[in-house]
Subunit: 302 residues, 2 copies
């Protein structure tokens, strides 16, 4: 009992899983990642990376301009106008979402920002970037990855869209469904996939999702903070490109079209560690690890 | 933008969803639950209900003696011997599990408690209580519910097992896989279904899961608390039957074999609210709500 579930966690913590490369001893996912060639990693575009500064620290969000260009453009205008600075996280609903916005809708909307049509699915031309995961899925005819984000695809129409996995970031909307990007949320629970194609997703938390998911839950309806529960202040939201290089958070994301990613995926699909007594043989879209790392010193640009 | 994602949350918060009963205006899930006849609710057996008392309050766990009789028997012996009192939550791993145990393994194991064989699947006779959900699943040939818990089933063998959905509670183990029940965990992230049939699940959190899921994440490997991070103390663990009636937490769980449950399920599968622009048409096992309520005053026994 010394290890117990520690062992399971260890295998799942992405730092100690094991795979096999052909015949022989299982290789840990940690080893796979350490041994990945530099070209298997990509640096997120600083012009499409957000830094959300909250009391617990910095939350880094990668935006998805190919899927939601109009919403991403709105968000960048809002950020560069300082719209989110001094606002707050107003809602934390357990097993669902964390939401930040101007609850009272008193703050003026910056020039150039207006409600835009939903971007529930990407432009048809994005389909060529879709990488298929062979697994079945309850909510989509096909699933896989698009620009490194978990995604769905409808083979008949060729439509692709992002999927509401843990850590995905979206834009709240009303009905009719136009939205201006002023209301944002991140998924902190079991993937609410019923929202796919119903809300515009704009990105994913690369680092710091635990700063959001560990916030106290609001006791109001749908997890809104009420009464004596103070909303969690947002010091600022910046675009990484606008932050001095020395103050940026260097990160690299494993390319989903890399050989290393395919090996990691296979390791997670077929568990060869002796701890696993039953081999799942499959993996669900939202359980696929999308590794992020601090680049090793030697590969850092500065 | 006044409602935005609030609307989505509202529909998902289980208190404001809408269904249709035949033709006509959608009915909210809240209304469905309020209008459910008393016989659609069940009171969990106090002899198989745990109260985990932590600084944030009481976490109520329903045990699954039909699926894991030996582990449940061990846990009840441990609880009645006061084994967990004064121990701590030692690990909080984001998007995965919260774990409590005697990290140093110094506490003597009470008489009668010994490592037992895994109960990854239930005894074959439990299959008759399995209720099928027609949806496909990535990890199991068949999914559904067993004694109100999310479950999987292999039609050829007739084996049934509990599924690692949000809030499910299990018993850590090492390899070889015997375990004595001294190390427990609860799922606080996207369902780690690869653990199904690999760890013995013993129950589900009925109330207070947010007290676990909002705990600070440990910064050690696999989310263990290290250094200056104090483990979260467990004042006590009791069996509800051993607690004076006035100090119990009255709860009722919607029966998964009730007409109301079937209507709630259908409401969540096919979304008829105007907010939903795309109807998912399906529901994944771990997204099925398993409603719990405080019984209305008129139906309380005392």
């Amino acid at each position: 009992m010394k290890h117990g579930i520690r062992v399971a966690g260890l295998l799942l913590a992405l730092t100690f899983g094991v795979a096999t490369t052909g015949v022989g001893k299982p290789v840990t996912v940690d080893q796979l990642l350490v041994n990945a060639p530099p070209q298997d990693w990509r640096s997120p575009d600083p012009d499409n990376t957000l830094y959300l500064e909250i009391p617990g620290g910095r939350v880094v969000i990668e935006l998805a301009p190919r899927v939601a260009p109009a919403h991403v453009a709105n968000i960048k205008l809002l950020v560069r106008a300082g719209y989110f600075n001094g606002l707050a996280i107003v809602r934390v609903q357990d097993n669902y979402v964390v939401q930040w916005d101007d609850r009272d809708h008193k703050r003026p909307i910056p020039t150039g920002v207006r409600p835009v049509a939903p971007e529930f699915t990407a432009d048809r031309s994005a389909g060529r970037y879709f990488q298929t995961l062979p697994e079945h899925d309850v909510y989509a005819a096909e699933v896989g990855f698009l620009d490194g984000f978990p995604a769905g695809r409808e083979p008949r129409s060729g439509n692709v869209w992002l999927a509401h996995c843990y850590g995905m970031v979206g834009v709240g909307r009303d009905d009719p469904p136009e939205s201006d990007g002023t209301e944002m949320y991140a998924v902190i629970g079991n993937a609410p996939r019923q929202l796919d194609r119903n809300v515009t997703l704009v990105g994913r938390v690369l680092k710091g999702v635990e700063l959001l998911s560990s916030l106290p839950r609001g006791s109001g309806e749908m997890g809104f903070y009420v009464g004596s529960e103070p909303p969690v202040p947002i010091a600022s939201v910046h675009i990484a490109a606008d932050v001095p290089a020395a103050e940026r958070t260097p990160l690299e994301v494993l390319r989903t079209d890399s050989a290393t990613f395919r090996t990691v995926l296979e390791q997670r699909r077929n568990r060869r560690e002796s701890w696993f007594k039953f081999n799942p043989g499959h993996i669900e879209l939202c359980n696929v690890p999308l590794p992020v790392r601090t680049p090793p010193a030697r590969t850092q640009k500065r």
